[in-house]
Symmetry: C2
Subunit: 231 residues, 2 copies
DNA sequence: CGCGGCTTTGATGTTCATCAAGTAAAGTGG
DNA sequence: CCACTTTACTTGATGAACATCAAAGCCGCG
């Protein structure tokens, strides 16, 4: 983890993110003086569950996972966050401490803004407040819907669902490199690592997907969609 | 469902609710002219999944459930909402249509505020915006944590968990009347009705609880807590 | 009074986690 | 760069946990 200097390229970075479209250039200036960037390598912990919340963090580049840890290494992944996802959006306004951990799945750069400063901005700029509400609403909503969807599927349905998710929502391509390990997939959709592997193998044998290590290609999308919906 | 007249007892109702503590008396006045109340009897639908979101709704009195419906009557309850819970808090700022249904578990009165008016208030009143953010954050957070907690427990653990939840969080009493049917408990914690009944019976036989229809009394709280945490 | 929904219990079968054991890959220190 | 250790991946066998099916009693409601 390294702290970088604050050359103010915020404009580009932040403006690209919808949430900040209502922040004026002047207000943006004050961000640049208070924000900082940090880099994390794959595997490093960005936020430790239980740590006090003093800052607002978002992913500028890379990929992170939000997860809860409980005894003996049994983790549960709440969600994955990509650039411009606001990883501390969940508890940030309601809690004093993080209820989950965040760590980098790929090399990641995050931007960090002081929470007090962010709150000031909410108070001063009503449109920004609305943007933030909308963003937060969407984030929470997606997570909840995800839990709901996954809970009513059997294991084959879950694997189908997550594969379609990667292809259609994240990579926009039926062929992609899995960013996560089999173990992490298991933690993401609530099953064991062995069964993730088993079912991926089944899908391969059935000609639904092609696998080469972390590389996945969807061969029979119709069938995968059917499985996702009906299993 | 009846529409009531708008005698402005908002002050009492709304002020009691933390979220509105930063709304001035003047602003409160404009609420009274725009808000309305509706009554629903047990079992009636307050919000139908898919309906357009045009208003902000909260429970003034009673108890409702938020749930998603999927084919052939297999529902999943997302959460229960009691007075001053903001039932349309989730999708309200991010979606145009409700992603879930809401119906009354007990006779319920809801207050309804025009969404446009609410957004104006967010824009005008920064402290109110922060309150709303906090409230929303907490709501979403609780739901997510709940899913997380429940997912890692086996069936006995889930029943223990939900019973403790009723006793400690909702009724503040080790003896209470179950507001929900066995079927609804099942939908709330992701198991079948039969197994809810079976495990409640087991707990009764094991002397952990006493049951009389909908009335539950926790007899051995220590054991229930142990089950909730270790099963 | 009868019908439909809720509740209860038992029997059965499927799904899934766990255990075990081995291979492959990736990081680590000399 | 190679031996070494650790972590990820894979497959099979087993049993436990849980859903499903079936049948019957109960209760409220029209």
């Amino acid at each position: 983890m390294q702290i970088q200097n604050n050359t103010c390229e915020c404009k580009e970075c932040i403006v690209r993110s919808l949430i900040f479209e209502h922040v004026s250039t002047m207000e943006l200036g004050t961000f640049c003086t208070t924000k900082r960037e940090e880099n994390y390598r794959k595997g490093q912990v960005v936020i430790q569950q239980g740590a006090p919340i003093t800052e607002f963090i978002y992913v500028k580049d890379g990929l992170v996972k939000l997860y809860t840890q409980s005894g003996q290494g049994r983790n549960q992944i709440i969600s994955l966050a990509r650039p411009y996802d606001f990883i501390s959006l969940l508890t940030i306004f309601s809690d004093k401490h993080y209820q989950y951990s965040v760590s980098a799945i790929e090399d990641t750069t995050v931007c960090i803004i002081d929470l007090v400063r962010l709150k000031e901005l909410v108070r001063e700029n009503g449109n920004f407040a609305l943007d933030l509400l909308e963003r937060m609403s969407r984030t929470a909503d997606n997570i909840i819907r995800n839990y709901n969807d996954i809970n009513r599927k059997n294991l084959r349905g879950r694997i189908a669902y997550i594969l379609l998710n990667f292809a259609d929502t994240i990579y926009l391509n039926d062929r992609f490199e899995l960013p996560v390990s089999r173990k992490e997939i298991a933690e993401l959709i609530g099953m064991t690592t062995e069964n993730v592997i088993r079912i991926l193998s089944e899908f391969r044998k059935e000609g639904i997907i092609r696998i080469n290590g972390k590389e996945i290609e969807i061969a029979d999308k119709t069938k995968l969609q059917f499985l996702s919906e009906h299993a």
